[in-house]
Symmetry: C3
Subunit: 319 residues, 3 copies
């Protein structure tokens, strides 16, 4: 029975590893990505004023990972355009999502059951993209773990990582936020995936590739579905993150008071450069010395709380 179980999993994982992303999974990825763009504030207005900017923005949502990876690895950034079939597919979906008569396409795809299936399928493509990035980097830089992680991450979460510049195409500029300052769940899970696949590829992680693909894909699909169904946005890594943060990044604590101020500042002024404002404010308070090597216990508890609070504030603003 145990052997059968293993055999079944083996068949399943091999089946998954040989799955072709084209056309169904790619289509799901394009649909979910372009719907995410449409739900950005101002995106619909742009789609009326300049269909071309809207199309370009959509392509960055769909192929952002390939573009970012291209720039990082000195491969042509226009390479995604050379795959005419995929660009055509993405363009048709873009047209349907934004300009379908009676808005039928978007309204149908936005129904929860269909959206759930599409989102799950999109998560599957993530595995392939991350793996593709890791393998590509391995071809150029043998055994350089960091390049493999960086490229896998870029391929898988490129759309998010270049979001500042994607927004710029639509005439929106929000320098105070980016995916490094405030990682979203997809960016986090992609980073985890890139680390795992890079470790597997360099044999530091003693597991076969198709098993890892199965495990990672299952995790992302299940977790995404759970988040959509429960409407919760709590990251499954929250506990680990908090533990790492408390252990590693609170050593030098005179600044803890300031992180408390950040919360206050980012709530009171929703304008640009919340962080800079926070810094100024703390400077005005005069209470927080920048180099005094003292350690307040209150601070150590305070700062992660402040972080969470600002996280919530952020999430609310984005939704």
């Amino acid at each position: 029975m145990d052997i059968l179980h293993v055999l079944n999993l083996d068949a399943l994982s091999h089946g998954l590893a040989n799955l072709s992303m084209f056309p169904y999974f790619d289509m799901a990825h394009y649909t979910v990505s372009i719907m995410a763009l449409r739900e950005q504030p101002g995106a619909l207005a742009v789609s009326r004023v300049s269909p071309l900017a809207c199309w370009f923005s959509s392509m960055l949502f769909c192929f952002g990972g390939a573009v970012l990876s291209g720039i990082m690895m000195a491969e042509p950034a226009v390479a995604p355009l050379s795959n005419s079939t995929n660009v055509l597919l993405a363009s048709i979906i873009w047209y349907l999502v934004f300009y379908c008569p009676q808005d039928l396409a978007y309204c149908c795809a936005a129904l929860l059951p269909l959206r759930l299936v599409l989102s799950a399928m999109k998560e599957v493509t993530r595995t392939w993209k991350v793996l593709g990035g890791v393998v590509q980097a391995h071809g150029k830089y043998k055994d350089s773990l960091m390049v493999m992680i960086a490229n896998g991450w870029a391929k898988g979460a490129g759309g998010g990582l270049i979001s500042n510049f994607e927004q710029l195409v639509r005439g929106v500029w929000k320098p105070e936020t980016n995916e490094l300052l405030k990682m979203s769940y997809p960016t986090k899970i992609t980073l985890v995936g890139a680390v795992l696949f890079a470790l597997q590829h360099t044999r530091y992680l003693p597991v076969q590739k198709h098993y890892l693909m199965l495990i990672y894909t299952t995790f992302t699909v299940v977790n995404k579905s759970r988040m959509m169904l429960t409407g919760s946005s709590t990251s499954p890594f929250a506990v680990i993150e908090s533990a790492i943060y408390k252990t590693l990044f609170t050593g030098h604590s005179p600044y803890a008071a300031l992180t408390g101020d950040i919360r206050k500042a980012s709530i009171t002024n929703g304008t640009s450069n919340g962080l800079a404002a926070a810094d100024k404010e703390s400077g005005e308070n005069g209470a927080t010395g920048q180099c005094s090597p003292t350690c307040s216990a209150k601070g150590e508890n305070g700062s992660p709380k402040a972080k969470e609070a600002s996280e919530n504030a952020e999430t609310k603003k984005c939704k």
Copy 2:
């Protein structure tokens, strides 16, 4: 007589196709480009405060297409600098336009007859640049029409497409406008050219290259001269654009009311992020549902008008 006519055209088109851009046409391109930079708000002030930033900005106006194409095709972005003669030529013209004693150079070149000739010559270089981009992309990606169009467009209209970053060099940042959101005439005509030359190169357009070069060059030169002489900024594609827009991009119309709002918003507040503001305003009005699949006839007429109005407003601001 018919044969003679054909023979004459043939000789003319062959003569044009064998025309060397260096040095006279290149010089005209540099002169017109750098004069356009000088006429940007704030550019003269920058030229006094930081000649280096001004020079770098000028080089982006002159060689922006090569830089953008380089980044897109993973060719060295500094490649234009390797052509010392052309950089030297552009630098001399930059110096004369900005710092000539008594401002003689600029005042002379700004005289209408001379400027007309220079602008016409600059239009000629466009044909060569677009064609160069198309051929280069064809060398890397056989038969990928989209890459050929993208690279031809980038080569021909690069200075405009990267204008946000060119402005950044001068300390100016206008995220709310870019050439994709609001295409200028040169960017449009270059896109048309890139499409035509790419179609010709892949044999979809059954016309010989030297004929197409003659036709396209004649069109751009005549049209540019007409626009300069009449002072009109109406695009020759306005009718076609409007027809395409009405046919393709007004299917989902509950948003039409909002596009009306955009006009209002972009007139009332000339500040940053007009689109975002418009979006907020419509949200506050509450009257425009974002997903209600209803269709108001008024909206369909209204939105192109709104577009034109905002176009006029934009043009006035730019001049």
Copy 3:
């Protein structure tokens, strides 16, 4: 005695030329760079909110030159990550500078004598980086002086040249300033070095490479130490710059009055786009025609003074 002197210098310069930057000089470079980041307004707040953004920003401070050079020369921008040892070293220093318990690491390194030694060692790495950039460019573009200068400059002063985008990682956006508009001392000295090494490499400067390395390194180290000890920020090139500026860039002078206005404007409003503001203000005054070919003697004296004043204002703001 003369021969002995020459022999000694020869031995010294050869010794310097064969010096390995790894690990001590590289470590000094990382330490000084990351401390400079920590002293940026808002950087400490970011280090609490998002250690990842802080790490990425630090890496851009440490390896910015390699990244910028990579993008310019179409080499992979992630290449610095492939040198695991150096990235690990920089990461450890980043951790110690930002999160060391009791803030010991930063407070120690910030003591003047240690900081002086570290800064001097960092200056030594500059020579190697500039030379590396010049040699690399020479390999790709034989005898193209400008590409060699550009790449040497990018390698040596990359962190400064891409500072706008480094700040963006930390959520800060200051479009009104950049290293081209307002060059800092390190950027200037690197440019001078890039010019010298490029001239030496193309045999226009008849001096042996190891001698030039000795002279340039000595100059940068001595000058940096002098500036740190006296607290002065006057550039050693101020006189030459002023002379060049007066000779070359004041030919067309109706704008001189405006440069006076710039000073006023940039003092009265410390907000964004000081230059644009200045431009508007001068427009409102109506007194300064933009194309009138007249020449006021007062203006020629006035403008460099205005420049110096705005330099001082800038410096004060940065500190």
